[in-house]
């Protein structure tokens, strides 16, 4: 296993004070602290070449995990090994072999053209000149950076900046890549570009990727395996299909009606009606899709229909809800 995480725990101390002037004055003398457990016993392991989605609501502990794996934060408990090293103990050796992108922040030099940032990183990671040139030219082509190289980073759009940031994280050809919300705030075209690139990197070069995101399309397009985290513990770990099955067997039948009748069935519920389009949710173990379709088509004029899984957003939202109710 390339990455092993066992029983990882991290607690932050958050300073608290009562609102208002009295609270501020009291805060001068005595600070109150509250312990917040960002991670409370997280365990998983990854083989080399896996592409894993790591998802969870805001504040679930995603970024904290990534930061510990990247050697930035020191955990309070648990064991971590990445390629045989404990990240925070052998930070400098460890970071030579990983690439990191934090979508909300840039690692490029704000006032300098992109190409100078890349060149500086070459020196920092001591990449031999010839190897750097091949690597850089390949990244420039794959990420379509040719026209942006001479532009100072402050003048790049968010999508352009993210592509340049991805290139910056790969200058030293790392075997493992940590992506923390790489598609945040991007437009549809830029998202597709980032996804396409990450997929290629994983398939063709065998780079291990851990990706956190709130965009379920990222997960659906990229990840074979999804780890869901909530309140510092793992809620689910497996393939997308496993995750769906665990949370709900539900499927959706969408029908375009040729008449304007009311659709109803004892084994299905109407979850949406939009003009002639009706969406029914059903459990395939109670009524098979074929049987439900037969019933509906026998009673209504149907122009078109299709069966689908509920979108992954819905699945995840339900998983979070289950967790809250527990």
């Amino acid at each position: 296993m390339q990455i092993v995480v066992e029983d990882l725990a991290k607690t932050f101390r958050v300073a608290e004070r009562t609102p208002g002037l009295a609270g501020a004055v009291r805060g001068l003398v005595r600070r109150k602290h509250r312990e917040v457990a960002a991670l409370a016993g997280v365990s998983f392991s990854l083989a080399a070449g896996e592409l894993v989605g790591y998802i969870g609501p805001n504040g679930a502990g995603k970024s904290t995990t990534i930061k510990i794996l990247a050697g930035i934060l020191v955990p309070d408990g648990g064991r971590v090994e990445v390629a045989g090293r404990v990240p925070w103990k052998e930070r400098i050796e460890h970071v030579r072999r990983i690439g990191v992108v934090f979508g909300q922040r840039t690692q490029l030099w704000w006032d300098l053209p992109v190409v100078e940032s890349l060149d500086m990183l070459r020196h920092i990671y001591k990449v031999p000149a010839a190897q750097f040139r091949t690597q850089r030219d390949e990244l420039i082509e794959l990420l379509d950076l040719g026209k942006l190289l001479a532009t100072p980073v402050r003048q790049l759009s968010l999508g352009q900046r993210m592509r340049a940031d991805l290139a910056a994280s790969l200058v030293h050809a790392p075997a493992i890549l940590f992506l923390d919300e790489p598609t945040i705030g991007l437009d549809a075209v830029s998202k597709l570009a980032v996804r396409g690139f990450v997929k290629k990197l994983n398939r063709e070069r065998g780079v291990t990727v851990i990706l956190t995101t709130h965009d379920m399309d990222d997960i659906e397009a990229l990840c074979d395996r999804v780890i869901v985290i909530g309140d510092g513990t793992i809620l689910s770990d497996g393939t997308l299909a496993d995750l769906r099955n665990r949370v709900t067997r539900e499927r959706w039948l969408t029908i375009d009606l040729g008449d304007s009748g009311e659709v109803s069935d004892p084994d299905a519920t109407v979850i949406r009606r939009d003009g002639d389009r009706v969406c029914l949710a059903f459990d395939p173990e109670v009524v098979t899709p074929a049987e439900l379709i037969r019933r509906v088509t026998s009673r209504h004029v149907v122009r078109d229909l299709f069966v689908e899984h509920p979108p992954i957003e819905t699945v995840i939202a339900r998983l979070y809800q289950h967790d809250r109710q527990r």
Partner: protein, 266 residues
């Protein structure tokens, strides 16, 4: 080493873009240089004995004005912004020592603005200003060479103090207190208000034991010949000694700070 040098070079290049600020600073500093010299000339006219000659104190003022921004008047602005916004995470993903990285940044931050102002300032102080009011060239080639070395050491010393202030941010996040204290000390005890040789005799040993003398005062006095070539190695030893001490303290604090680091924001 190359990694740190690459950071110095990159930041130096980035900082050279601020030409308008340099031009504005140049005019202000020439103006205040003339004012300071006017005041000193008035004092010297009324006094019979002085511990430093008028020509040397005039040169001292010009050199101080030219290298004014060597004064570590605050922590590294970039590092402060990184810590405030959380971008500091990237600094820790580099295969470099964090203190060394911040020191490299500080070296560039302290030198680039000084270089932009120093060259035109030398031209003005040596050639434009009327005789008796300007900066005289160093008395010997040896004095000039020793000044160059001492100036380099002043950069390292100032950068070491700057990165120490940056490290302190890991404890306070918005740390205006320490930089304000350091800036006041550096201005007062660095010879920017009153040239250090003009302080009373009893204060001299203290002033010259502090690190602040090594930034503007000592190199300037090597340049003008007020400190002899024979004595100049002691100046360099003072500067390097303090640089080393501040660097060791900075590195130790950094390793402590990293362990308790809380990265701001998601």
């Amino acid at each position: 080493m190359t990694g740190y040098l690459a950071i110095v070079a990159a930041r130096f290049r980035a900082l050279l873009q601020y030409r308008a600020a340099a031009l504005g600073g140049l005019f202000t500093q020439v103006f205040f240089g003339l004012v300071r010299i006017m005041i000193l000339r008035a004092f010297y006219a009324a006094s019979t004995t002085a511990p430093i000659s008028l020509a040397n104190v005039t040169g001292y003022v010009w050199l101080g004005q030219a290298t004014l921004l060597l004064i570590p008047w605050r922590e590294d602005a970039d590092v402060a912004e990184q810590i405030r916004s959380g971008t500091v995470v990237y600094e820790l993903t580099r295969p470099l020592d964090l203190w060394g990285l911040w020191f490299a940044r500080a070296v560039a931050w302290r030198t680039a603005p000084v270089f932009l102002r120093m060259v035109p300032m030398f031209v003005i102080a040596m050639l434009v200003v009327p005789a008796g009011w300007g900066l005289a060239p160093p008395p010997s080639v040896a004095a000039f060479v020793l000044w160059s070395i001492s100036f380099g050491c002043a950069v390292l010393l100032s950068a070491a103090l700057t990165s120490l202030m940056s490290v302190a941010l890991m404890w306070t996040i918005t740390g205006d207190g320490l930089p304000m204290l350091v800036a006041t000390c550096a201005t007062m005890f660095g010879g920017l208000v009153i040239p250090l040789p003009l302080f009373p005799g009893w204060a001299q040993p203290v002033l010259y034991a502090l690190p602040f003398a090594g930034m503007l005062d000592l190199p300037s006095r090597v340049f003008t010949g007020d400190i002899s070539v024979a004595h100049a190695p002691w100046v360099i030893a003072h500067q390097l000694g303090w640089t080393l001490a501040l660097a060791l303290l900075g590195r130790w604090l950094t390793s402590r700070g990293v362990r308790r680091l809380v990265v701001q924001g998601g």
